[in-house]
């Protein structure tokens, strides 16, 4: 008796093991978007860590397939968590197997993909036609030796998001907040009257630190690209934040920074009044914090001293094409169309709520002030009014080979030591500097 099921199992097992390779279509993933493509369309695979990016591509794909009936494309979108996607992509790209045709790489991870001989396709020729219309510094972020390997998505200008409902309750006008001192006074008022915190002390990301460094014209690295996280400017930046925390103006948040699911919940519940984030945080509001609709105002970030630049480009995604891509020319042309054309830039705002790299779009009132737009509807004021006010003040934090290491040390260890454990700022930053140097040795 046992023999029968034994043989049965064996046969079943063998056939399944060797026979299951090709039967993938059975599952029917929802992630293949055809954008009205016909039978002959080339299927390209695309990896991203932000589901919304896929939606943007879906829109642009429809237009592409309409305009290019002989070069139609189907896009197979895979969404993975941030860390996993970058790790998998890194292995796949380096080993030359299993990589998708097109992929999103986040700015903080990009230098890892540029080490040695980049296994990515140079994109200069397809970027060239648009070079005059887009912000060059955003392209430079994804380049090595003047070769462009990634197409930028947005400028990522940092702005402040204020919950006006709570501010009105305590009689604070966010428009009058210009310096961190103003912010501190307002925050102390908020805490006294409501017990809520004015803002967050970020422990797991560098957004705030970048803003405060940029205001002082400083960076995490020196001119030569060597890490320098214990600089005067960095100490000053941390001191400003620590002082805010000591006065109950800001506090650490679940998740460690505003762009985490735990934090969405905290913000949505009104436990924190403001967030300082790149403009793309808008889409997190509309998607994950429905209760705050009509209550959030956008404004320039406070500065240490009046007259300092009020914004810095934060985050960013470079979309790349891998060397192993199926049809490199097709992928390149589509990518440029989907992210750099004027239509694309408009859609990047419409679908994603990002500040597009083509700054001409910033002035197209019919696009930016379209009353149908979900972002226009959600926020108290129009984001582009703020963007246009600060457009010449948007600073840049350099991306260097040391950047991933710097980010990792600061946002796993240093910020936690400073804001959770109350470790001395200079000491914490010196330790960080030492650890970074050790790792880069």
């Amino acid at each position: 008796m046992i023999k029968k099921w034994f043989v049965g199992f064996l046969v079943l097992a063998m056939t399944m093991l060797w026979g299951c390779g090709g039967s993938n279509n059975a599952g029917g993933t929802s992630s293949v978007i055809d954008g009205g493509a016909g039978e002959d369309a080339t299927e390209l695979s695309y990896w991203t860590f932000v589901e919304l990016h896929g939606q943007h591509f879906e829109k642009m794909l429809g237009k592409w397939n309409q305009d290019n009936p002989d070069r139609q494309i189907k896009l197979n979108v895979t969404v993975m968590p941030y860390d996993d996607m970058h790790n998998k992509l890194s292995i796949a790209v380096q080993s030359g197997t299993g990589a998708p045709d097109i992929a999103d790489i986040e700015l903080g991870k990009f230098p890892d993909f540029l080490s040695g001989t980049p296994q990515l396709v140079p994109l200069n020729d397809v970027i060239d036609p648009y070079r005059d219309t887009i912000v060059q510094s955003r392209v430079d972020l994804y380049s090595k030796d003047d070769v462009n390997y990634g197409v930028p998505t947005h400028v990522g200008a940092s702005v402040a998001f204020y919950n006006t409902e709570i501010l009105e309750e305590v009689g604070v006008d966010y428009k009058e907040i210009v310096t961190w001192e103003d912010f501190k006074r307002a925050g102390m008022k908020v805490y006294e009257q409501t017990g809520k915190y004015m803002g967050t002390a970020d422990t797991s990301a560098s957004w705030q630190a970048s803003m405060l460094l940029a205001q002082q014209g400083a960076d995490y690295t020196d001119e030569a690209g060597n890490p320098q996280v214990n600089s005067e400017a960095m100490i000053r930046a941390m001191t400003v934040l620590k002082d805010l925390q000591d006065n109950q103006v800001i506090a650490t948040i679940a998740g460690g920074q505003p762009d985490t699911e735990e934090a969405y919940g905290e913000f949505n519940a009104g436990n924190y009044v403001s967030a300082f984030m790149p403009l793309w945080q808008m889409s997190r509001y509309t998607n994950y914090m429905p209760d705050l609709s009509g209550k959030i105002a956008i404004a320039p970030i406070p500065v240490i001293e009046e007259g300092m630049p009020r914004s810095v480009g934060g985050g960013g995604t470079g979309t790349v094409i891998t060397q192993t891509a199926k049809d490199i020319q097709l992928a390149k042309d589509f990518l440029a169309f989907a992210k750099l054309s004027l239509d694309a830039n408009k859609e990047i705002w419409n679908t994603l709520g990002f500040d597009p790299v083509n700054m001409d779009v910033w002035e197209m009132k019919e696009v930016t002030h379209n009353p149908e737009n979900a972002f226009v509807q959600y926020f108290v004021n129009n984001p582009f009014d703020v963007l246009n006010e600060i457009r010449d003040e948007i600073q840049l934090i350099k991306s260097t080979p040391a950047t991933p290491t710097i980010n990792n040390i600061l946002s796993t260890t240093t910020y936690n030591e400073i804001f959770e454990d109350g470790k001395d700022i200079t000491q914490a930053l010196n330790d960080a500097q030492q650890q970074i140097e050790q790792e880069l040795k």
């Binding site: 292995i91 790209v93 080490s115 040695g116 919940g265």
Partner: protein, 297 residues
Amino acid sequence: MIRKFLYSQKVAPYVFVLPFILVFLIFWVYPLGSSLGMSFQQIQLGQEAEWVGISNYDKLLGDGIFMKAVLNSAVYMVLTLVILIPLPMLFAVLINHKFMWGREFFKSSFFFPALTSVVVAGTIFRLMFGEMEGSLINSILGWFGIEPVKFLKGQVTGFIALLALAAWRWTGVNMLYFLSGLKNIPDEYYEAASIDGASSFQKFMKITMPLLKPTTIYVITISIYAGLAMFIESMMLWNGNNSPKNIGLTIVGYLYRQGIERNNLGYAAAVGIVLLAITMVINLSQLTLSGMFKKEE
């Protein structure tokens, strides 16, 4: 001819164990060898490897984060041994007691957590130990008037969460190992002891414990292995391999970080070799001390 050769009593055993020999050579000896080789090289996928002698090991010695990882793994292993050996043994003895009601039900319920995947269990525990007031553990603490705790941001509290997860998943499994060991102890021993007037405690110390020794050694061996190789639990609990201040970083986590996240294969291989050395030293000395090898002969 070949058939006759293959069917002879001399050759048959080799045919039987052949799959093991193949797997052992292909998937253990070869990778171990290449791992050892890699550890003396500077390698990045997609680039030429370069021999660098012992400099990877040299760098490891001065690497504070690696030391942190070793310490975390070691502490985790010791604490899991302290929790997951005596308690399951005690539970097994108690549940085996003749006065026990509902034995089968409890056995199944205790085993139940082991059926969940670490991915699922880790996520559940991450949410339970969330720092919000409404998260399960904090809401329970709230009943006793205790302020919400940021469990996953502190070294000690983070380890409490890790150990809770381990205890939850493995108590039942270890209990079953001990139960199967208990079943092999003949009842006559206890009856004889009872006639001699031994107390329950004496019986436990003089009969149960010594006769459970082989089982105990087995459970200790796999627990040492599991403790030192722990990684996914930490990864799920902190939703990534980067816990604040690396409080949840383990040796395998560091290997993963260097090898997979940083594409620093040579250095990661050195981490692996050190882990291998630590595991072998601990386990072999444990087995020697307990006299396992003498019996095996």
